[in-house]
Subunit: 491 residues, 2 copies
């Protein structure tokens, strides 16, 4: 058979001569979203086949810190142990702000209401949480501790509309990389439930009828092309498209300013393309997490970030992804983090941030950087003047991070966009209902098709509001919803 | 027959019982792109049916100024009469910069090479040009003159890489609104060529086979649904999607900051949806022309534009659409245009820009605006200091527009995003080849399908580089290419 298949062209069900595989639910991709979908579909009594293009499970979830954004309903054990009460309304308002100008209210509401029970579900699967809190500003705990401030909760303008609470929950795992632990645990559950997992299995196309109802998929493994029938539905959990640089160029070309995509080779947009091939609408395709993870050392948060004209443009205590989002909007590649000798600490090596200039006065630094006289110095003077009073009238950085930068020598750290570490991944994807159903551009469900994780456009959909743990929160929680609904679509 | 049709779902050719209409080429939309496609297809010997949803021709092209971006090959008669020599290489480099981070090099090259002959073609159709030049900064000539500076040619950074030349060509028509004249002329040609034009004809869906090859379309008029066969191809020239606010929210939500979409009700995204229904890739869907057309009076260009923190962020002599693009990226809705008594002239009423504050000193203005002391004043002082030397080291505004703002009283004009006039239209659309063929996400042509005008993502595809006349240049020129290729697809 020499048919050419494409993720962008559904194979017509009328052309299928025989189904080689049959199940109630077919899942594409064995990252966190796919695992959770498989667990819930299987627990609901559905037969499930899970296809993974790679030779092992994990996807990009396994490369992550394993952090999940959780809270509400008074708080998780870790939140409560640390003395925080997290109201559902505050979580909801934060999620709405984080979602940006087209936040998905239905998803934000459902997640806010059920986040605590989602935490309990994760614990029931075996995910260990130490219920300890690490205060301060950091990307991930270096220890096996649990709870951190992982977003912009304490930062303007978020802090004004939603009572701040730390919500980043990291599994008990020493050091970065708890995502692998999380995936091992979820994968063990998938195995326990006897889900039929097929590795090295690349999905080539969906199988659909003329009305774009999805009936199954075409998958290739061991050199053989097989037709798999989904009695209830196909769930696409195949990641985003950050590794498909052509696709990035066509939808989010500003990301090409950086050479640090985060993902596996599987994040090539296939999941999104499959969904679009049957009329699924891909939305917010220009949005991304794009970060300069410059803390810890948290002392650097007391510095100020300026563009090549010496202007500040964002409160530096915002989440590093929000800062990165604004950095990529600046004219010019030169970005500096300014600190004095009291606030300076060497950035982590990963960041590729060296010292661009140093001097005994800010005038010297300004000169060394070749900036127009009076620009950077005025920015620093204005900042210092108000910081001395515990204020930042221009960007509303919180008082805790305000310290006049007055103790020389002074340093400008070189965060240029074309050299420093700006990790990024895409947030655009298929529009879905909270139950995971993929929607057309008229927001009507595509029968038989679901999506979750970064194949979907979920809770996180705006670079200016992303917070650590949101992508896994979205992938695990809405992966579960998709699995449940696909198992009993009529329910 | 009670079949439900959708622009997002192709009707299967195998289900067509009879063709009610047949032609070599079917064109959807009678704006400039559709008219030019019809003219060329018809001249090449093809039979053409042109469907227009409205009761008359013109589309959004007829609402425009009729300005077309033209030049290269030494220059048009108007350019040469005014003493400008416009080299093809300069036009090409300008188009590449204007196209932004994913400029379409093939289209830019073809257009640069053939722009002068396109001018001659327009003249041959009967479009009158007075071949006179109006210097200075303006949106459209108020007179019946022809040539204006219609982009950022003389502004940084464009002026550094492409020798500046004015390229906005307006038909001989007194006052704004030359687009109606342009359309009347093109429509007369369409009529002369006996193209079969069907008004009040709404295209409901494309007709395609299982491989997404396009065979025709389904159209509704006079209460009757008809099947129209395209022996060679369908050309989608149905405008953009700015009037579909749901679609805008899902793809370009920053535009929702303004309530001034430019278009006809037809700019509802139907054309793009039709193309996507058969696998056409829609790209750069977040990009838009979004402008604050604050000049003329050109004296205002000598003012400076600041955000609500009193910071400048762009050279004010850039094209108003480039400035608007950057305005919509600012944090906060408050935007001010600062002028002194020598540079002040009342903005046009259309702009909805009043005086936010005035004072005998910039300190007073700063205070009146409730800005942090020393911010706006420092911005003005820095600007004035360098302007006095004919320099703008921060934003590289050209010397001609640099004048210290030192003669009181001083005025801050209120350009707030949520109130002032920010006209906008979408630039994202179907990816196409220079010959108009619609491309899949793998950049393979969708057989039998073409697009032009704002249904396609053409030369203009980046808000930061748009220049007046580019959309009509793209629509007319690439509409022609689509018509020619569809007439003789094998040629």
């Amino acid at each position: 058979m020499s048919i050419e298949f494409s993720p962008s062209l559904p194979f017509r069900v009328s052309q299928v001569k025989q189904w080689d595989i049959e199940a109630d639910v077919l899942i594409v991709g064995f990252g966190a979203a796919g695992a959770c979908a498989a667990i819930e579909a299987s627990r609901a009594g559905a037969s499930v086949v899970l296809f993974e293009a790679a030779s092992g499970n994990g996807g990009t979830s396994a490369l992550s810190g394993g952090e999940i954004y959780l809270g509400g309903n008074g708080g998780t054990p870790a939140q409560r142990a640390a003395g925080f009460t997290d109201e559902t309304g505050d979580l909801f308002r934060y999620l709405m702000m984080a979602g940006g100008p087209d936040a998905d209210e239905a998803k934000a509401r459902l997640y806010a209401e059920e986040s605590l029970s989602h935490y309990e579900w994760l614990v029931a699967q075996g995910v260990p949480y130490k219920n300890t809190f690490v205060p301060g500003k950091l990307v991930e705990p270096a220890t096996d501790d649990c709870l951190i401030w992982s977003g912009s909760e304490q930062a303007w303008p978020f802090s004004e509309q939603a009572k701040p609470c730390p919500r980043g929950h990291t599994p008990q795992w020493t050091g970065w990389g708890g995502g692998r632990l999380l995936m091992d645990i979820l994968a063990a559950r998938v195995e326990e439930l006897k889900v039929d997992v097929r590795y090295d299995s690349r999905v080539l196309a969906l199988v659909a009828d003329d009305a774009n109802r999805v009936h199954g998929l075409v998958v290739r493994s061991d050199g053989v092309t097989r037709f798999a029938r989904a009695r209830n539905g196909v769930i696409l959990c195949a990641g985003g498209f950050v590794m498909n640089r052509d696709m990035v160029r066509k939808h989010a070309p500003h990301l090409m300013r950086s050479d640090d995509p985060i993902g596996t080779p599987g994040d090539d947009g296939t999941g999104i393309r499959l969904g679009m091939s049957v009329g699924g609408a891909a939305i917010h395709m220009n949005e991304a997490f794009s970060s300069l993870p410059f803390y810890a050392p948290e002392s650097l948060v007391k510095g100020i970030i300026v563009n090549e004209r010496g202007q500040r443009f964002i409160n530096e205590d915002a989440y590093h992804g929000r800062i990165g989002h604004h950095i990529l909007q600046q004219l010019g590649d030169r970005i500096y983090l300014l600190v004095d000798s009291e606030t300076y600490e060497p950035p982590i090596e990963l960041l590729r941030v060296g010292i661009a200039a140093a001097g005994d006065t800010w005038e010297e630094v300004e000169q060394d950087l070749g900036m127009t006289a009076g620009t950077l110095t005025h920015t620093v003077e204005t900042y210092n003047h108000h910081a001395a009073q515990g204020q930042d009238p221009l960007f509303h950085k919180a008082a805790a991070w305000l310290k006049p930068l007055t103790t020389g020598p002074f340093v400008a750290l070189d965060c240029r966009i074309d050299y420093a570490f700006y990790p990024h991944f895409t947030l655009g994807g298929l529009d879905t209902l909270p139950n995971g159903q993929v929607l057309t551009d008229q927001r009507e469900p595509v029968p038989g098709l679901y999506a979750a994780g970064r194949t979907a456009c979920g809770l996180p959909r705006w670079g200016g509001g992303y917070s650590s743990g949101m992508s896994l929160a979205d992938a695990t929680f809405f992966g579960r919803q998709a699995g449940k609904h696909a198992a009993t679509p009529g329910a």
